[in-house]
Homo-oligomer: 163 residues x 2
Amino acid sequence: MELRTIGVVHTTYTEHRSTPQQASLNAEESAWVEVDDDLADGLEALEEFDYVWLITWLGDDAVRSEGPLSEVPDLVAHLDLSVGSFATRGPFRPTPLGLHLVELVSVVGSRVTFRGVDMVEGTVVVDIKPYVKEFDRPDQDTRSGWYAKAALAEVAKQRGILA
Amino acid sequence: MELRTIGVVHTTYTEHRSTPQQASLNAEESAWVEVDDDLADGLEALEEFDYVWLITWLGDDAVRSEGPLSEVPDLVAHLDLSVGSFATRGPFRPTPLGLHLVELVSVVGSRVTFRGVDMVEGTVVVDIKPYVKEFDRPDQDTRSGWYAKAALAEVAKQRGILA
């Protein structure tokens, strides 16, 4: 199963450390995907959607891909949670694919501009798909598992409630 | 960029023709992913989420992967719409990855049972990620592009409004 690069993300972030962890946490900033010229035809009608999924390849960068399968993300470590890699959205996984929901700004030629940036400059894109609410939006409210606990604990920590 | 199989989907569908096109259109039926034994640890804490994303490989099956880049899905053809492959969720794309939102039923050992089946028996899974509403759910209502038009036209056709 050989993936091909279909484009590259251009952002202002050059270091993983300072890059936002999720697009939704940095929803206003914009960036763009430069799609390979021979694939620009594939973007036809994409602009009719408000949001798109970017699937990226996170594995060529040792900083993100090293570590054992069940390595616990930093945020979880101080919470004493044990979380498998398939229960996280981070890069520490057997298949280093990233899934990003971004807001579409424009499609001009081979350039797809979007808002919601959580990728470093040069991140490789392997697929673009439209966000379709009929497919992608559960009817009911959903539990966010350990992410919810971690977020609450982080707030508590910031407020000095936890040690 | 070499993908590895992390598991295989087991369903009752043996032919693409009769397989539902999206998990949300067949939300009640259940099926399961048999995750590779050496990766079962990676499922820890996944059960705390109500929905998960399955990323599948659709490319080894010629029925699904043949066709030119901008091939128009059947549904769109009679609507006289021209749609690029990145504006569809179908298998006709440069990188034959499938993205499926499914409702988690249980995680027992290496078996992940879910509701919402749009895969044929034996579909290869390359990643499992939790659905996190804070990341995956746009705040506002979103346009579904040509999917919305196609759905309306399909209804009209079924009711004999269109030729």
